[in-house]
């Protein structure tokens, strides 16, 4: 075994260089096997893993404390795209389900209906249909039908109560749910509230508050968000 200038083995240095990726689960299979073999032969090296987890936890905390893009940033981007390319043109291909449902939402949001007494309720029902189609396939936990959402999952993990903004499109809701890795587990409840699970484990209060703070800025998609107890 070769020694480097500090008396440490070159192999140890090489393995230690790989450990951060071993901890984050992003090593290639070959390197992962190599690290596991080394750790099996050198149990004392496992102490490194704990240090790396500490570093990772705090790096995540620092980044999670940062904000998100301000409300209206997407609108600004789309306006710039429109400025560059001109207004959106109808696409030749047949629209997919999401686009179709988004189109329904757009219809429900015409000015005539907007001011009708029942408009809000209609939007909520329309969104329920859309959202029903967006629920991730989680086996028994997924909705059976899009139009009749029901309670579908046990109250485990970290959950939020979310009401989507009236003008939110299916694409925006889909994007947001994917962004927060959220799964709608029940709803709509009174007030158009949906229960969205953002983690299968109990996140720390500060982590959840960070997510909620970020979501509160997304006023174009979300009109209400709170932690679900």
């Amino acid at each position: 075994m070769s020694e480097n200038g500090t008396g440490r083995s070159a192999e140890r240095d090489e393995i230690e260089m790989l450990l951060p990726w071993y901890v984050t689960g992003t090593l290639s299979d070959d390197d992962r096997v190599r690290v596991e073999r080394y750790l099996a032969d050198h149990p004392e090296a496992a102490q490194q893993l704990e240090l790396i987890r500490e570093e990772q936890d705090e790096t995540v905390a620092v980044n999670e404390a940062l904000g998100t893009m301000p409300a209206g940033a997407l609108d600004k981007l789309l306006a710039q795209i429109e400025e560059t390319d001109g207004p959106a043109i109808a696409r030749a291909q047949r629209p997919g389900l999401l686009e179709t449902l988004a189109g329904w939402l757009a219809i429900f949001n015409t000015p005539v209906l907007k001011f009708a007494a029942a408009a809000a309720a209609i939007v909520i029902v329309a969104q329920a249909v859309v959202i029903g189609s967006l629920v991730r396939d989680e086996g028994p936990a997924s909705y059976e039908t899009a139009s009749a959402p029901t309670e579908v999952a046990p109250a485990v993990g970290t959950r939020l109560l979310i009401a989507f903004a009236e003008g939110a499109t299916a694409a925006q809701i889909t994007g947001l749910l994917e962004e927060i890795e959220g799964t709608i587990v029940s709803g709509p409840k009174a007030g158009g509230l949906f229960e969205v699970r953002i983690s299968e484990t109990e996140l720390t209060d500060s982590a959840v508050e960070s997510v909620v703070a970020g979501l509160k800025q997304r006023t174009n998609i979300i009109r209400y968000v709170a932690i679900s107890n």
């Binding site: 984050t24 240090l51 790096t59 997407l74 994917e178 962004e179």
Partner: protein, 189 residues
Amino acid sequence: MASANGNSDVELIARVASKDRVAIEVLYGRYQVRLFRFLVRLVRNEAVAEELTNETFLEIWRTAGRFESRSSPSTWMFAIARNKAVSLLRKRSEAELDDDAAMLIEDEADTPEVAAQKGDKAALIRACLARLSADHREVVDLVYYHDKSIKEVSDIVGIPENTVKTRMFHARKKLSELMAEAGVDRGWP
């Protein structure tokens, strides 16, 4: 791999290439937080990072047709964002960025010494992370927060894979040194 609803990253990029605005919205929803935070950490200024995030998505919109699957869409988008930040930082001195009316990012309230005196190890690590060089901090963020592999970091930062490994190694050593200077011996290296 194709998804059931055409919403995998690769499919979205292809749809953006054909000027599908719904696809750019979904992509935006999926990546804006990550790209924004990556940029905030690079330029240390939220208002500037907002502008750069916007410019990044505009470039994605314009150049999606040139995306080749040599890297993942995520890596490609991070590389675009990074190039935007590097170009800006070359043009503008740090002082100019700090003078922007926007909120300046405060990395950490406590110095390493104060955090160490309080016995708050987590705060100490955060304070020391904030004192890493920009190059070190970037790799640490990409690995620990953005879950990027060695190859992905190499593609995003534009350095060889071996350099990625040694840079991360030295960043971690520097972190331990900073903690030792504050009086906390981690027992490594």
